[in-house]
Structure formats: structure tokens, C-alpha cells
Symmetry: C2
Subunit: 409 residues, 2 copies
């Protein structure tokens, strides 16, 4: 009897998570040993609440696959839901496994970031405990690029491409007047500066680049920041600065602490950050007397499918396809990983790693990529990021506007 497969999406939206879903669907629907491809609505939480669909009703042909690759956010919907430790409360697990058995599901693929890998870890460990043969595979997805054991994560390349191209456009914009000015751009990244590091790639034959870049991996020194800004403004007039939302001063406080809207916690206990760029921009104006503007890239950096990286989308798609193969081969309790075999020419392999080594760990930018003054080493960063942002996937445009594949409007 042919088995069914269940796929879910979890955590924050990206421009690439649907390419992975497209890869899963493509591979699963072509396999003779797989029957129905179910999709969880709103992640594992939605599945617990009996929200799931038969994906063949929504992805009908290869054109839909291509459209899905160009659709940002999470086609199936997402959740931020932490399963309890099954040793203390296994009620969710009983519901999940009952449903999986009812639906004859043998493979569960979960596309997500750090928190989502915790879900796969717990479900695969529980399956082992109850001797279920259902297989659980994690497929990485996060713009944050902070998962361990993989060279990089699907979604990161597209966000990095958006950031580097947008920084170039912002830098061009900032040079328009012959007066001194500063622009501070706030980029996502609570503990890991991978996204902010992409601002380094704006430097090129046609662009002086981002003048100052600050990652959360190093303590932020406001006085040194202002001194450096002052020095640069006196020679270059217009400076552009990129900062991670998560930069903290020596007293372990976020730079944005105390500002309106900051400090709310989500259900994983992560503090919502906002206002870092505005706080620093205000400081530049008040301390240096220079016109300054704060720009927050906000969700635009994770949903800008119209400028996705072809490399990222292709890799995300392949990660989804390979995940199906790995599950069918009998793997469980693993996450799909990328290994960079060569940088020039760029070449990666796709394999798997034990989920217990991955869940809840966090990969930050290496210390030796960051200079003593907190700025970054452009060369090392560029070598790492450049291949990941290569190539474009032209969006499908209808009447001048991007077109997406959706379950409901």
C-alpha cells in the first residue's frame, strides 16, 4: 500500500520557503510509493487542530510549481508553537500520531528554522520511544542563516540579495545632496549578524559601499560609533550605516531599549526589537548636528520575492526534493544540510545531519570575520555571501504587479 506524506511550514516567512514546498511536492508527486501529499495549514499547531489540505488540489501543474517558487511568505501558513517535553506532557504527541496514523502518513517533512527543528527533534524522538516507523525530516529555512551544521540556509541568499541591492540603491539615494548627512539602516538579526553582513556587498566599482556595519556578535560602543561616524562624515559628507536590530551595549541592553514598541515578547520568549536605526539616527543628529535618517528594512527583506536569488530558490527547491528522497530511503530525525565543496566555482552537496545536534543551537558570524572595532571584514564576508545571491528568478508580472500562488486571497 502506498504511503502518504505530510509537509508543513513553520517560523517566519521567507522568499524561498515555498520553493522548498514546491520541491517536496514535485518529488513526492512523482514517486510511485507515495500517494497523497498533505500540507499542514499553519504548521504543527494547525495540524493538531485538524487543519490540513491535499496539495494536489492547489498545485495542479508545473506552471503552479513555478508560480509557487515566486511566492513569498508561507503558502501553507505558519506557526510559532513549541511542543512540550513529552516526558511531562504527551497530549499533543498523542493527537499528532493518531492523526498521522489515521491519514496513513509515513513521512513528515517540516520546513523551518531553529524552533521548527526543535519540533522535528521532539517528534522523531517520540516516534522512537513509541516505536513508530513514521519518519521525520527537517528542511532548513531561515533568512537568519543561524542553523548549525549547514553551510547556509535556504532563504538567506534571497534576503541577502535584497539587502545588498537595496543598500546600493539607498547609498545612491543618500548621495543626492551636497550636504552632510547620515543614513542608518536597520536589518533583521537578533543574535546573528548574517543578514547585516550582506550590506558589505554594496561596495563595488560603482559604489563606495556601506560605510559602517555593526553586528550583534560584538558589544556595541555608542561613543566609538559616534566618533567613527563623525570622522567619516567630515571626509565623505554622506555616510550610510547598517546595524543589526539586535546590537547591544556593554550593559547587555539593546540599543533600542526604552523606545516605543520594543520589548514585547513573542511566544518563544524572543523580544521583538524595533527602533535601533531611529535611536542611532537621533543620536547622530543630536550629538553630531548632522541631518540623519533611520530606515528599517522590516519584513520587506524577507518577503521580496521579486528580487529573489536564483541560486537560493534552486537550492531551496532541491532541498525539498532531496528531503523526500531521504525520507523514502528510511532516514528520520535528521535535517537536510548544505556542504560547500568549493567556492569558485561554487558547488554544494546536499545531505543530512542528526537533528539533535541542530535544534536549539545557533550559528553566529565567526569572530575572525569581525574587526576589533566591531566593523566587519568585507573580504571574508563577500566570499561567503557572493555565490548565494547569484542569479535572478524573474517574477511573474501581471498588469505590472507581481503574481503569486495562494490557497485563499
Amino acid at each position: 500500500m502506498r504511503a502518504n506524506i505530510l509537509v508543513g511550514q513553520s517560523g517566519g516567512p521567507t522568499a524561498a520557503i515555498n520553493a522548498t514546498l514546491a520541491g517536496v511536492y514535485k518529488a513526492a508527486s512523482e514517486r510511485k510509493d507515495i500517494n497523497i501529499v498533505y500540507g499542514m495549514r499553519y504548521g504543527i499547531k494547525g495540524f493538531i487542530d485538524s487543519k490540513y489540505i491535499d496539495l494536489s488540489s492547489y498545485i495542479k501543474n508545473d506552471f503552479d510549481i513555478e508560480l509557487l517558487k515566486r511566492t513569498p511568505s508561507s503558502f501553507l501558513g505558519s506557526c510559532r508553537y513549541r511542543l512540550k517535553d513529552f516526558n511531562t506532557d504527551d497530549s499533543d504527541y498523542k493527537i499528532i500520531f493518531n492523526k498521522l496514523n489515521e491519514l496513513n502518513i509515513k513521512y513528515v517533512l517540516y520546513i523551518g528554522g531553529n524552533d521548527s527543528m526543535d519540533t522535528i527533534k521532539k517528534l522523531s524522538n517520540y516516534a522512537e520511544l513509541i516505536q513508530s516507523d513514521i519518519r521525520f525530516i527537517g528542511v532548513p529555512k531561515t533568512i537568519d542563516n543561524d542553523l548549525v551544521m549547514t553551510d547556509h540556509t535556504p532563504g538567506y541568499g534571497s534576503a541577502a540579495k535584497y539587502i545588498s541591492s537595496t543598500m546600493k540603491e539607498i547609498i545612491r539615494d543618500s548621495k543626492v545632496y551636497d550636504i552632510k548627512s547620515a543614513t542608518v539602516v536597520e536589518i533583521m538579526g537578533r543574535n546573528a549578524g548574517w543578514l547585516t553582513a550582506a550590506a558589505a556587498l554594496a561596495e563595488d566599482d560603482d559604489c563606495s559601499g556601506t560605510d559602517m556595519i555593526y553586528l550583534p556578535e560584538k558589544v556595541f560602543d555608542t561613543d566609538k560609533f559616534l566618533a567613527r561616524a563623525n570622522e567619516l562624515i567630515s571626509s565623505r559628507h554622506n555616510i550610510v550605516i547598517a546595524v543589526s536590530e539586535g546590537i547591544k551595549t556593554a550593559d547587555n541592553k539593546y540599543v533600542c531599549d526604552g523606545l516605543s514598541g520594543a520589548g514585547q515578547a513573542d511566544c518563544f520568549g524572543h523580544t521583538m526589537l524595533c527602533g535601533t536605526a531611529l535611536a542611532l539616527s537621533d543620536k547622530i543628529t543630536s550629538e553630531l548636528g548632522v541631518k540623519s535618517r533611520g530606515i528599517v528594512l522590516s519584513t520587506l527583506q524577507r518577503c521580496a520575492s521579486h528580487i529573489a536569488s536564483l541560486t537560493d530558490i534552486n537550492e531551496s527547491f532541491c532541498a525539498g526534493m532531496k528531503a523526500v528522497d531521504f525520507a523514502a530511503e528510511g532516514k528520520t530525525g535528521v535535517m537536510v544540510i548544505f556542504s560547500r565543496i568549493s567556492n569558485s566555482p561554487y558547488h554544494i552537496t546536499i545531505s543530512t545531519e542528526n537533528i539533535n545536534l541542530i535544534a536549539n543551537a545557533e550559528k553566529t558570524v565567526p569572530n575572525d570575520w569581525i574587526n576589533d572595532d566591531g566593523t566587519i571584514d568585507n573580504i571574508q564576508v563577500s566570499q561567503y555571501i557572493s555565490p548565494l545571491i547569484t542569479g535572478e528568478l524573474a517574477p511573474y508580472m501581471v498588469n505590472g504587479i507581481v503574481r503569486h500562488l495562494v490557497i485563499e486571497k
Copy 2:
């Protein structure tokens, strides 16, 4: 003897102002009666300070022309400088006309918005006064679309395209979780809501559209806003709202008044606005108890050449070419205008109108496009905007990042 031509760019950056410059250069360099094409650095203020270049040193071939079309901001640099009334102080005028005569310049083209047209108006009126035969032509450019006597302005279509596509991506992103949420997006527009109106175009077969849109043309009622948001959130869960930065309450105060960073005035006396989206987002959270996020499109909406409208770029280029012809034909004291002959198929003609009727006037969104509750009539707005955002001009990408033509890095 062949005459020379001088072209300048003024006011805020756009994605299309360099396409107009490219058109001016192309037409001027092909005319037998024109010799050198000079460019003012940093507008009329830079010219007064003897900052100008010979454009042939920087635009060497048709490839450079194409690259210039894809470069945002202002290639020549810009200024915000108001010439004094020459009846009270003609010192600037004397400097300018001396330099024009020295350089054998017979034609001056100035690409800009409202304030820039004031410059052309004064210079052409002064030329008449002193019986100079130097001709002055304004070429419109503003994302704000607020110039009178022209159907629309170069730069508006590209900004509107960015806004409508970005709104679609934001709406998709906002629907990812199965929890109630609101997103408030702040769009440029001090007195005119043309840019914010473009958020209406997100509604399509694949998108429920922007749920609430507020323009500065109507008084903003915070209570009604919250009541409407509350009503929509109860049925749709996730709502996305677009607001102009310039919306004001009945007491004539900006919604963002009192927030950090707001209230600084530029040299034209325009108040700098920021914080409208954050203020309203905070209100939704505090009054309705709903998770909310504020997003400010900031300068991204005016510099995103990577998603420029082909129609806008082509029209901007033609406006530049035609401006040269109009000057050569003997016109002066006029601005190039677009007249929409037909909407479907879309067809415009390019002609000129008396600058005295245009400078310092402001065109806002017609009252009958705005409903009594302050929201807008999607159908009328879409019919007007849709042709202006049609078509894409693929950016030139190098190593995955946009490439620009620049005078200096």
C-alpha cells in the same frame, strides 16, 4: 556657431529622473545645432558655485545610456535651493547668466518637481526682463505626482509600481500566522495621496488587497479608523493598512506629531514627517489589543530602480528628448507635460505648458476618488494608475547585485 546646452536635476531622488537625463543627452548629442551638453552638479546651487561637467566624459555610448536609465537617485546630484525674487535680490541671477553666457549656453533644462519649476519660472521671467535669448524649460520629475497641468509625472509610475508590488508581498507576509494582526504601512506624500493610492492596486485574483487606505486629502479620524480596523480584524484576522505620512486629524495636527524625529523642517519649510505608521500601529495594539507592526517604506519607494516601470522609464526618457526639441524650436518658460489621450489602449501625447501656471501649484487626488469615510475608490484609482506601472525594465545585475552609472563612487 553651435550652442551649448545645460541640464540640471533638482529636488528629491526618483527611479526615473536619470532616464530623463539620458533622453536629454541622447537628443542633444544627436543634434547638429548643439555642441556641448553640460550638466550642473547639485542643481542650480551647484551651478552658482561653478560645479558643472561635460556629460560626454561620463556618458560615452548607448550602453551608458541604458545603464543610466537603470540608475536611481540623481546622476548629477541635486539641491533644494530657492532662488530669491529677482526684484529684491538679483545677485544669484547675475552669477547664473554670466556663467551661461561664458559657456555659450542657449538652452537650460531643469528636471524636477514643484520647487524646481519655481526655479525655471524665475529664470525664464528674468531672461525676459533682461532680454536674454537663453531658453529655459522644465521637465517634470516627482514621485509625488503633484504637478498640475500634466496627466502624471515621470517617476510616479515606478514608485507606484514598487508600492503596489511591495504591498502585495507585505500582505502575503502578514497572512502567515493564524492569529489576529494588523500591519500599518507608511507611504510618502505630504499633501497629495497619489503614492498611497497605489496601494489599492494590490487587490487582485491572488490578493485580498490593502484593507484600509488613508490619504492626506481628507481629515483623519482616529476613532473611526480604530472602529473600522476592529471590525475588519474580527472577520479577516490579518489586516494591512496604508497611510500617507501626511495625514492630519481635525485639529490640523499630523498623526505623527510629537514623535521623535518628526517636525524638523527642510530649507523649503516643509516639515519632515515620520512615525505615522508607528503611532497608528501602537494605537491598534493599545486600544484593540491586537498585535501590530508599523512599516515605513521610506526612501526605498523612490530609489528602487530594480523594479522600475518600463512605461515610466520610457516616458521619462521621451520627456527628456522632447524637451531638447522644444528648446531648439524656441520655446522657453514652459514645462513638458503629458496628456492622456486614451486609457485603453493607453496613449499619451507630450507637449508644453506655461511654467507660470505650474510652479508652486499642487495637484491632489480628486475628491470624488475618495469615499466619505476617507478610504478610496479602488476602481477610479486603478484605472488611472494601472497603465503607468505597466512593463518591467530588467535591471543590469553583476554578481547578483544591481549595477549603476555613477560620476563618482
